[in-house]
């Protein structure tokens, strides 16, 4: 691999052992994928935050790495295993909470912003078109690749952290324009609701795996795009998509000769049935990915004046920034459930609390059965809220 003089200096240990080790990891990962050089990044987003997913091995690693390293670019964290403030209300144990707070402190000591969200692009970490970044979190990296035109591969937790520490990542895959072309055209015929975008993502991801779809027939806003991107990354491994006449790079590539797949009512119905296996649930969770400010406002508007009549638990998961910014709307939602920040239903220890849960997010409904041993129901916000009213 071709390294610049500055990179070689880091690799020679002249900027400390932490930076040397981080660069070694960035270079090793680049070698696997045939990268010829490294590219400077403008931001990083790190996964590997929840104690539930990284375990004690992860803590030992972070304790080690945080001794001698600081991040060089603005870096944000993915959701953790609990609300940093309201974890007792969630039923999280003292032991879990202590370890979780320790993990977040370790990231904080390296200079990482410690509010934990899967929508950092809505909370201050928004790259610009053409920026190279190193992002983990499959839905967020798909959003910045697609809706912004920034460039990132699907980074893993330690790789993204290493990239943040040295301010560089390996230049291969989606960092190169030639790898950002669509691989399949999707003619979408959906009703345009938020939930139909969730199911569209599920249907497309399960069909195309790690391809790059080029959509016709939709014009998703950020909320619709994020639930669709999340679903495509969970049911497949989609890291980028284009929407005709809508996303910033859609006009830069040809779709000539690409396979065309049609997704309509029938495909959405199949996707819905494949995800939704139970009727009665104990927990209903929204906010996968985290609810935006607009979503919280719209939910509050919808719920204003209505009354909850069931003891089914409801979680509204969002970022700390949104929860702090909208106290009045949050108070309305709190009459129906708990507004949680810094966490979500997938990375928190739900399995110890409930057995049957529901969400409007196809991503959540993909992971709740495997990561949280849940039997799942997948339906729209309105349909699920009618259950409790």
């Amino acid at each position: 691999m071709n390294l610049s003089a500055a990179e070689q200096r880091i690799l020679d240990g002249e900027e400390g052992e932490g930076a040397r080790k981080a660069l070694e990891l960035v270079v090793a990962l680049g070698k696997i994928y045939g990268a010829e050089d490294l590219v400077p990044i403008t931001s990083a987003h790190l996964s590997g935050v929840s104690y539930k997913t990284i375990g004690d091995g992860g803590i030992v690693y972070l304790e080690h790495v945080s001794q001698g390293a600081k991040v060089r670019v603005p870096s944000t964290l993915n959701p953790s295993g609990m609300d940093s403030v309201r974890w007792r209300e969630m039923g999280v144990s003292e032991e879990f909470a202590a370890k979780q707070l320790h993990i977040i402190d370790l990231y904080g000591s390296m200079g990482v912003e410690t509010s934990c969200s899967c929508t950092p692009y809505l909370a201050g970490n928004l790259p610009r078109k053409g920026d190279h970044v190193a992002w983990a979190e499959s839905s967020a990296l798909s959003m910045v690749n697609s809706m912004v035109g920034a460039r990132t591969n699907r980074e893993g937790g330690p790789g993204a952290l290493a990239a943040a520490i040295v301010g560089r990542t390996a230049n291969y895959g989606l960092h190169l324009k030639e790898n950002r072309s669509p691989t399949v055209v999707v003619e979408a015929d959906i009703d345009g609701s938020l939930f139909s975008h969730s199911l569209l993502g599920q249907a497309v991801g399960s069909r195309i795996g790690n391809g790059i779809p080029y959509f016709r027939g939709i014009r998703p806003d950020w909320e619709e795009a994020k639930i669709m991107a999340a679903a495509m990354a969970a049911s497949g491994a989609v890291a980028m998509f284009h929407v005709e006449d809508h996303t910033p790079e859609s006009s830069e590539h040809s779709t000539e000769g690409l396979e065309v797949i049609n997704i309509g009512d029938e495909e959405l119905k199949d996707a819905h049935e494949s995800l939704s296996v139970v009727e009665d649930v104990e927990l209903i969770a929204f906010g996968c990915p985290h609810l935006s400010m607009r979503e919280v406002r719209e939910m509050a508007y919808y719920l204003e004046g209505k009354v909850k009549k069931s003891d089914v638990k409801v979680w509204f998961c969002t970022s700390r920034q949104v929860r702090d910014a909208l106290p009045k709307e949050v108070a309305t939602l709190e009459r129906f459930g708990t507004v949680l920040a810094d966490t979500c239903m997938v990375v928190t220890p739900v399995e110890g609390l409930y057995e049957r849960s529901a969400s409007d997010s196809a991503k959540a409904c993909n992971y709740l059965p495997t990561l949280c041993s849940q039997k799942v129901r997948c339906d729209s916000f309105q349909t699920l809220m009618e259950v409790v009213m």
Partner: protein, 253 residues
């Protein structure tokens, strides 16, 4: 003998090989209190752990680091193909990693030395023998030769024109020489396929697939007793030398 692979994670390690000829997930695949494998047999601690490719949860990277802090990690890792999870774990835990190695050629118990900076695997107790396997194509058919009873290796089996490479000889020259000796066909190769390894007792054979295009009928010497022009697909039903199919695949046949 020395095999050239690809340098992934730096450092040098010498240890006894433990082979798991499949894809492997560190999360769930190994008991982190003992280093004992949960899939397959053996303990990876201090061994040269050879498996095809990493798979499974990304938490596997931390599992490798965790094993290292408990002194239960492998001394080195050999992969057919490195991927993100194991590479990450190897780098953060300072475990040398070399990939691009045919795991099939290794046996548990082999003594091995890997160098994660040059990408080499040294097997000091094994001898390397480089052989050529020459296939002549005529239209859609290929020429297969039946080895005579006098041959010490694989008598009566069908194969290409083959033999040991001599000192200083490349696969092109060796294959042309063997072809001329064994069939009287005088030709130069049109394609050299990627080589692969076959394991024997105390020996590893490095096989170089070589393709010729020729119309001539062969004139056999003592090494063979029969020949046939067959389609590559038909060769699958014949009693062939080991991994002849691999030779054909690597020549695009």
């Amino acid at each position: 003998m020395i095999i050239n692979g690809r340098a992934i994670a730096s450092g040098r390690a010498e240890a006894e090989v433990l082979v798991l000829n499949e894809d492997f997930s560190f999360l769930g695949g190994v008991d982190t209190a003992t280093g004992e494998l949960r899939v397959g047999e053996g303990n990876i601690s201090g061994r040269m752990f050879a498996f095809r490719r990493g798979k499974g949860s990304t938490v596997g990277s931390y599992t490798i680091f965790d094993l290292k802090t408990k002194n239960l990690a492998p001394a080195g890792i050999i992969n057919a193909t490195a991927e993100t999870i194991v590479t990450t774990g190897a780098v953060i835990a300072d475990i040398p990693l070399v990939d691009g190695i045919d795991i099939d050629a290794l046996r548990s118990g082999d003594r091995a030395i890997i160098d994660g900076d040059s990408g080499t695997l040294e097997l000091p107790d094994l001898e390397l023998r480089e052989v050529v396997s020459g296939i002549v194509r005529r239209g859609d058919d290929i020429l297969l030769l039946r080895r005579s009873d006098e041959e010490s290796h694989f008598p009566r089996m069908w194969g290409g024109a083959s033999g040991l490479m001599e000192a200083g000889e490349g696969p092109e020259d060796a294959a042309s020489r063997e072809l001329l000796e064994e069939t009287q066909i005088d030709a130069r190769p049109t394609l050299i396929g990627r080589s692969f390894l076959i394991r024997g007792d105390g020996i590893i054979w490095k096989v170089h697939p070589v393709l010729f295009e020729a119309d001539d009928e062969p004139t056999l010497n003592w090494e063979h007793c029969d020949y046939r022009w067959v389609s590559p697909a038909d060769s699958a039903g014949m009693d062939t030398v080991p991994r002849l199919n691999e030779v054909l695949v690597r020549l695009g046949l």
